[in-house]
C-alpha cells in the first residue's frame, strides 16, 4: 500500500455534474454520488465552493471525506474529466451517512484510464488465429456467431448449444441474454456463473416456503439474537455489518451467533460482545442445526403459538409440501418421501428419532463444545423470565449452503420457523446474499427437456459441466464469468475445454469469415467445440488461452443500468463516462447476434427500452417494477428517468401502487403488512407471499434433513492421511473475483500480491511452515462426476453408488500459496481466496453436485500442504502483512 502515498485530492467545483449510482460489487450495493467536471477547473474547501456541499476537513467519525482513491480521470463526450465517486454522505438507507467498504470506496479506480492498471480493458472484438488474438469487426463477429450457431443447432440440436453467464450484472443484460437463450434458442444447456445447472441456491428454503431475500436490513438490526451461518458480513457484506449488525450490538446489545469454521474480525467482535462462535467442522451444519432443534424441542422453547398459526398441519402438508404434488422446482423432491413432514408433531418426532440430533454425537462430529450448542439454543429460543420471547433472525450464506446444499438449508430454515422466525420485524430467515440481485428472466428454462432424468416423470436441471465433459456441447456462449476457474475441480475442467477447443486440429489461420466458418464447422463435426467469451477483461484462462472469439463488453458507469440489492432495493446506476474503444453493453451485443440469427424483438435503441420491456416479464416476481414503468409513461417520462428520481434511496421491490403513489415492500411474508381493503391498484400485483409464506397454503413447512443422503460423500472426502480441509471464499479486501480489486488496484495488490493460505498455528507447527513461506497445496483425489444423467431412484444418486457404477473419477490438482499462520481457521482447516487467476483454490474442490439439488459443494476441498521455500514477502515491509484477521 505504500505505493499510494498521494497526499491531496481535487475537489469538484460548484457547477460539477452530479449523478447517482451504487457500488458495483457486493450485494449490499451502497449508494454513491458521481461528481464530474472538466480537467482545468477546481472547487474549494468551503461548502459554497464545491459540489459536495460540505466544508472540509470533514468532522471525525463521519462520512463525506473524499480520499485519493475516490478520484480518477475519465473521458466524457470525448473530453478528459475529473471524476469523484464517493459514498453518498446524505443517504438514509443502506450505507447511512456515507459509510463504505474498502472495495466500493475505491470504485472510481474501476474506470478505464490509459494511465492506470485498467488500461488493459478489452476494446474491440477479437478472434484467435494461430493461437493469437486478432481484431475483427462487430459485423464479422455477429456473422460468425450466428452462422456457426445455426449450423450447430440444425445438425446437433439445441442442447448442443450452451450458454454460461452471470446471473447478476443488471436487469437489462440478464433479461436480454436469457430471452435469447430460452425464448429463441430454447437450450437446456444453460447455467449461471456460480452453479453447474439452473438450480436454486437454497432449495431447503424453497420447500419451507421462504424467499431467499425476504428480510430487510432493518430486520438484521432489530433482532435480539442474530444467527449468522456460513459467512462473516464484516468480510463480504461490509456495510450490512458496519451500519446494521455492529450498530445493533452497540445500541441494543444484539447477540450474534456465528456458525462458521473460520474466525474473522466480525466473529471475534461478536464473541467479545456477548455473542458466540460455533466453530464447526466443515460440512457438519446439518447435524449442528438438528442438535439445536432438538435442544429447543426437548425444553419446549419452540414458539408454539406462532407454529400453530403459521405452519402447515398434517392435512395441509399432505399435498406435496403444501404446494401440490408436482409443484417444487423439480417435481421429484415431493415424491421421494424423504423430506416432507406432516407438520410440527411429525417434525418433532423425526428430529428426536435421529442419532445426528443427539447433543454429544453432534458435538463430537461438529467439533463444537456441547455447552456452546446448548447456550446457542438458549439464546435463540429460550423465553425470557417475563415470558416474552427473544426476537431471533437467521441469515445464511455460502459457507453453509455450498457445503451440503439441500439438507443444510432445509434444516436451517426449519430451525428458524421453530423459533417463530420468517414473517415479522426482526424475526426473519433469509440469505444475506453474494452478488447484487440483477437477474431478470427473459424466458423459461425448459426443464421438461432436461436429459437428467429419473424414475417417473422427474427431471432435474442439466449439469452443464458434466454435459461439456461428456462431449455434448459444440458451441458455447460465455458471458462475464471465467467458467473454468469458477467451477469445482476447475483445473480438470479447463483440460476438458482445451481438449474440445484448442487441441482440436481444426484451428484458424486467418480472420477471413468464410475460412473461419469452414474451420468451425469442421471442428464441431469432428466432435470439437467453438467458444465465444464476452467480458470486460481478458481473463485467465478462458480468455487468455481457450475461447475462439472475444467480445468486449461495456460495464458499470458506461451505460445506464438497473439492479436491486440484498433487501430488494432497486436503483439506477448512471452512465457517467464513455465506454472504452468499441465496447458495447451486453444487451446490445446479444441483440445484434439475435437479429443476425433472424430473431425478432431485439430492436432496442437504448438500455431503457430493455428495462421497460423486461418490466412486463417481472410482474409476478419479488423485483416487480412494472408499476414504475407504467407511472413513468403516464407522466411522459422514461422508466429509467423516473427511477433516477429515487436517487440512491431507490425503492424496494416488489413496487406497488398505493393511493396513486409508488410504494416499496420492506419485507416479504410480512404478517404485519396491511394492504388496502380496496384491493390492488392498476398494474400492482399482490402475490400471496407479500404477507404469507411461499406455499399454496401460505403457511410454512417443517422439513426433514436426512444425513445419509450426504453422509457417504462426506465420509469419503473428509481429510485423511495428512490432508486438511482447504476451504475457500472471498475476503474483505478482494471481493470481486480479482478482475478489479487485486489485479488493478495497487494498494490491494500490495496487500495480496499472490494467493494466500491461512493455516492454524498448530497445523503450521506440524507442517514446519511459517508465515511468508511458499507452500504447495495438492490433492491426488479430487472427485469429478463424469456421467450419470439417469437414475431410477434416490439410491442411484448417492455417492457410494455413483462410485460403484463408474460415474466418478479422481484427478490430481496443485496450487501454490503464501502461508499466513494465524488463529483464524479452525485447527485442521485452512482457507484460501477462491478465484486467484494464477492459483485458484477451486482446482481442489470436488466436482460432484448435491444429487438432491444440483448445486456444487464448493466449500469442501481437501489437500496436503507442503513447504516450498520462503516467499519474498516474508521479510519485506512493502507487500503483504501476516497479522491476524481476528484481532480485537
Amino acid at each position: 500500500m505504500i505505493k499510494n502515498h498521494t497526499d491531496s485530492v481535487p475537489l469538484p467545483p460548484k457547477n460539477a455534474d452530479v449523478l447517482t449510482t451504487c457500488c458495483d460489487y457486493c450485494v449490499v450495493a451502497c449508494g454513491y454520488k458521481i461528481y464530474r467536471w472538466p480537467v482545468g477547473q477546481k472547487g474549494g474547501i468551503k461548502a459554497k465552493d464545491n459540489a459536495l456541499g460540505i466544508d472540509l476537513p470533514v468532522g471525525l467519525d463521519q462520512g463525506g471525506w473524499v480520499s485519493p482513491n475516490m478520484h480518477n480521470i475519465i473521458k466524457h463526450e470525448g473530453k478528459p474529466h475529473h471524476v469523484i465517486v464517493a459514498p453518498d454522505h446524505e443517504i438514509e438507507v443502506v450505507n447511512k451517512g456515507g459509510n463504505h467498504s474498502i472495495r466500493g470506496g475505491a470504485i472510481a479506480q474501476k474506470c478505464f484510464n490509459v494511465e492506470k492498471p485498467t488500461r488493459d480493458r478489452l476494446q474491440y472484438p477479437q478472434i484467435r488465429v494461430n493461437g493469437k488474438l486478432e481484431r475483427i469487426s462487430w459485423d464479422d463477429a455477429f456473422t460468425i456467431f450466428a452462422e456457426t450457431s445455426q449450423y450447430v443447432i440444425k445438425k446437433y440440436g439445441t442442447h448442443s448449444w450452451a450458454q454460461k453467464m452471470f446471473s447478476y450484472q443488471y436487469f437489462e443484460n440478464t433479461y436480454a441474454l436469457t430471452k435469447f437463450a430460452f425464448r429463441n434458442i430454447g437450450t437446456i444447456a444453460f447455467a449461471f456463473h456460480d452453479n453447474p445447472s439452473n438450480a436454486p441456491s437454497t432449495p431447503g428454503f424453497r420447500d419451507v416456503g421462504i424467499d431467499n431475500f425476504s428480510a430487510s436490513y432493518e430486520d438484521w438490526y432489530l433482532a435480539d439474537t442474530l444467527v449468522i451461518s456460513g459467512t462473516d458480513p464484516f468480510e463480504t457484506k461490509t456495510i450490512l455489518w458496519n451500519e446494521w449488525i455492529m450498530k445493533a450490538i452497540a445500541e441494543h446489545r444484539q447477540k450474534v451467533i456465528f456458525i462458521n469454521p473460520r474466525k474473522t474480525t466480525g466473529v471475534a467482535f461478536a464473541e467479545e460482545n456477548g455473542g458466540l462462535h460455533l466453530q464447526l467442522n466443515p460440512g457438519t451444519d446439518t447435524i449442528l442445526q438438528m442438535a439445536l432443534a432438538r435442544i429447543i424441542l426437548e425444553n419446549g422453547w419452540q414458539d408454539s403459538e406462532w407454529i400453530k398459526k403459521y405452519t402447515n398441519n398434517k392435512w395441509e402438508t399432505d399435498s406435496g409440501f403444501g404446494q401440490g404434488t408436482r409443484n417444487t422446482d423439480w417435481q421429484w423432491r415431493t415424491t421421494w418421501g424423504q423430506f416432507q413432514t406432516k407438520g410440527f408433531e411429525d417434525y418433532k418426532k423425526w428430529i428426536l428419532s435421529q442419532k445426528e440430533s443427539e447433543l454429544n454425537y453432534a458435538a463430537e462430529v461438529c467439533g463444537v463444545d456441547a455447552e456452546d450448542i446448548e447456550w446457542a439454543a438458549e439464546m435463540m429460543a429460550k423465553p425470557n423470565p417475563d415470558g416474552s420471547r427473544p426476537k431471533t433472525s437467521f441469515g445464511v450464506e455460502k459457507g453453509n449452503y455450498w457445503s451440503n446444499n439441500y439438507t443444510n438449508t432445509s434444516s436451517f430454515a426449519s430451525l428458524g420457523i421453530l423459533c417463530g422466525a420468517g414473517n415479522r420485524p426482526g424475526q426473519m430467515i433469509s440469505r444475506f446474499g453474494g452478488h447484487q440481485r440483477g437477474g431478470m428472466k427473459g424466458g423459461k428454462y425448459p426443464v421438461t427437456e432436461s436429459p437428467e432424468k429419473f424414475g417417473g416423470r422427474r427431471r432435474k436441471p442439466l449439469d452443464l459441466d458434466r454435459w461439456v465433459q461428456a462431449g455434448k456441447v459444440r458451441f458455447a456462449y460465455v458471458v462475464g464469468t471465467t467458467w473454468t476457474a469458477a467451477m469445482c475441480g476447475s483445473g480438470e475442467l479447463a483440460e476438458v475445454f482445451r481438449n474440445h477447443i484448442t487441441r482440436n486440429p481444426n484451428q484458424l489461420e486467418s480472420t477471413n469469415v468464410q475460412h473461419v466458418l469452414e474451420v468451425f464447422k469442421k471442428r464441431v463435426d469432428s466432435g470439437g467445440m467453438v467458444m465465444v467469451d464476452q467480458d470486460i477483461y481478458l481473463r485467465n484462462n478462458i480468455g487468455t488461452e481457450i475461447a475462439d472469439i472475444i467480445l468486449p463488453a461495456a460495464t458499470w458507469g458506461e451505460c445506464d443500468f438497473t439492479r436491486a440489492n440484498g433487501e430488494r432495493r432497486i436503483r439506477l446506476y448512471s452512465k457517467f463516462y464513455d465506454p472504452p474503444g468499441e465496447t458495447k453493453p451486453d444487451w446490445w451485443i446479444v441483440a445484434g447476434i439475435a437479429r443476425r440469427m433472424g430473431f425478432s424483438g431485439y430492436d432496442w435503441q437504448d438500455s431503457n427500452d430493455v428495462f421497460e420491456e423486461a418490466g412486463r416479464f417481472g410482474r409476478g416476481g419479488i423485483l416487480n417494477y412494472q408499476p414504475l414503468v407504467k407511472l413513468a409513461k403516464k407522466q411522459g417520462k422514461r422508466g429509467h428517468e423516473l427511477l433516477r428520481e429515487f436517487g440512491t434511496t431507490g425503492i424496494q421491490g416488489p413496487i406497488r401502487m398505493q393511493g396513486g403513489k409508488l410504494v416499496g415492500t420492506k419485507r416479504l411474508h410480512d404478517s404485519t403488512l396491511k394492504l388496502p381493503e380496496t384491493g390492488p391498484e392498476k398494474e400492482t400485483v399482490w402475490r400471496q407471499w407479500l404477507t404469507k409464506f411461499k406455499t399454496h397454503t401460505g403457511k410454512a413447512n417443517f422439513m426433514k434433513s436426512p444425513w445419509y443422503l450426504f453422509g457417504d460423500f462426506y465420509d469419503h472426502i473428509k481429510p485423511r492421511d495428512g490432508e486438511i480441509w482447504i476451504l475457500n471464499g472471498r475476503i474483505n479486501e478482494i471481493w470481486q473475483s480479482c478482475f478489479d480489486d487485486v489485479e488493478r488496484r495497487d494498494f490491494i495488490k500490495n496487500r495480496f500480491p499472490e494467493n494466500f493460505i491461512e493455516i492454524h498455528p498448530k497445523d503450521a507447527e506440524k507442517l514446519g511452515v511459517e508465515s511468508g513461506d511458499y507452500v504447495s497445496v495438492a490433492s491426488d483425489r479430487v472427485p469429478v462426476q463424469i456421467s450419470g444423467f439417469y437414475g431410477r431412484d434416490i439410491d442411484d444418486l448417492l455417492f457410494k453408488n455413483l462410485l460403484k457404477d463408474g460415474h466418478i473419477k479422481f484427478v490430481s490438482a496443485k496450487v501454490k500459496a503464501v502461508a499466513m499462520v494465524m488463529d483464524v481457521p479452525k485447527e485442521g482447516t485452512s482457507f484460501m481466496y477462491f478465484l486467484n487467476p494464477e492459483n485458484p483454490a477451486n482446482v481442489l474442490t470436488p466436482r460432484v453436485p448435491d444429487p438432491i439439488s444440483g448445486n456444487y459443494r464448493f466449500k469442501l476441498g481437501v489437500g496436503k500442504i507442503k513447504k516450498i521455500g520462503e516467499s519474498p514477502y516474508k521479510h519485506s515491509f512493502q507487500q503483504m502483512t501476516f497479522k491476524s484477521r481476528a484481532i480485537i
Binding site: K3, L60, P68, G105, F234, F269, Q878, S884, I887
Partner: protein, 189 residues
C-alpha cells in the same frame, strides 16, 4: 534531505490530459518538498519511481531516553491542529518499515483512521504491533508495514509520519499519505 521549495500556483492548469500518479503527486505537493521515499524507507527500486512523501517543518517529538517499548506517545503533526494533527509514535520492539533508532523499530502514524476518521490513538495492540481495530468500524493497520490495512475498510494505508533521530531526540519531518478529513494535510496550503 532537500529543503528546496517547489511552487506550483495552480495544479489544475498544469495537469496533463490523463495525469498519472507520479505527476499528480508532484503537482499536488504544493508549497512543500517531495522526497523520494526510497531514500528514507529503503524501498525497492520498483517503488522508488512512484513512492514519495511530503516533507514538512521538522518537529521534535520525544527523546529516545524517554521512550519505552510498546508505550505510544501522542503528538500533533504536521501542525498543532488538535483534531487533524493527532498522531502517535511507538517503539515496537521489532524492526519495522520506516522505523528509526538502532533497531529500526520506532515508527509514527496519524491517529485518524483513513476509513471514516475514527480515533486510533488508544487502539495500539502490543502483541500484534497493529493499530486497531478502529473503534468505529474495526479497521486494523500493520505498523510494521507502513500502516498497511490488515483487515477492514480504509482506502489508504495509515499515513506514516517520517521520523529522523538527531542525537537523543526523535523528530517528525514529513508525512507519507493524506491524513483523514481534508484535501491536503493539516496546515499545508
Amino acid at each position: 534531505m532537500k529543503e528546496e521549495m517547489i511552487k506550483v500556483e495552480n495544479m489544475e492548469t498544469r495537469l496533463p490530459t490523463c495525469v498519472n500518479r507520479r505527476q499528480f503527486l508532484f503537482y499536488s505537493a504544493g508549497a512543500v518538498s517531495t522526497v523520494a521515499l526510497s531514500s528514507i524507507f529503503g524501498v525497492s527500486a520498483a517503488f522508488a519511481s512512484s513512492a514519495k512523501y511530503a516533507e514538512y517543518p521538522h518537529k521534535k517529538i520525544v527523546s529516545l531516553s524517554e521512550l519505552q517499548t510498546d508505550t505510544p506517545v501522542d503528538f500533533l503533526y504536521p501542525n498543532d491542529d488538535s483534531t487533524y494533527g493527532q498522531c502517535f509514535l511507538v517503539k515496537l520492539g521489532e524492526k519495522a518499515g520506516g522505523g528509526v533508532g538502532s533497531n529500526n523499530d520506532i515508527v509514527a502514524f496519524s491517529s485518524l483512521c483513513t476509513h471514516m476518521g475514527g480515533l486510533l490513538s488508544r487502539s495500539y495492540k502490543p502483541a500484534h504491533k497493529v493499530a486497531g481495530p478502529c473503534p468505529s468500524h474495526l479497521t486494523t493497520f500493520d505498523l510494521t508495514r507502513h500502516g498497511m490495512v490488515v483487515a477492514g475498510h480504509a482506502l489508504e494505508s495509515l499515513p506514516q509520519i517520517v521520523l529522523k533521530i538527531e542525537k537523543n531526540d526523535i523528530y517528525a519531518t514529513g508525512v507519507a499519505g493524506l491524513i483523514f478529513g481534508g484535501v491536503k494535510n493539516p496546515g499545508i496550503k
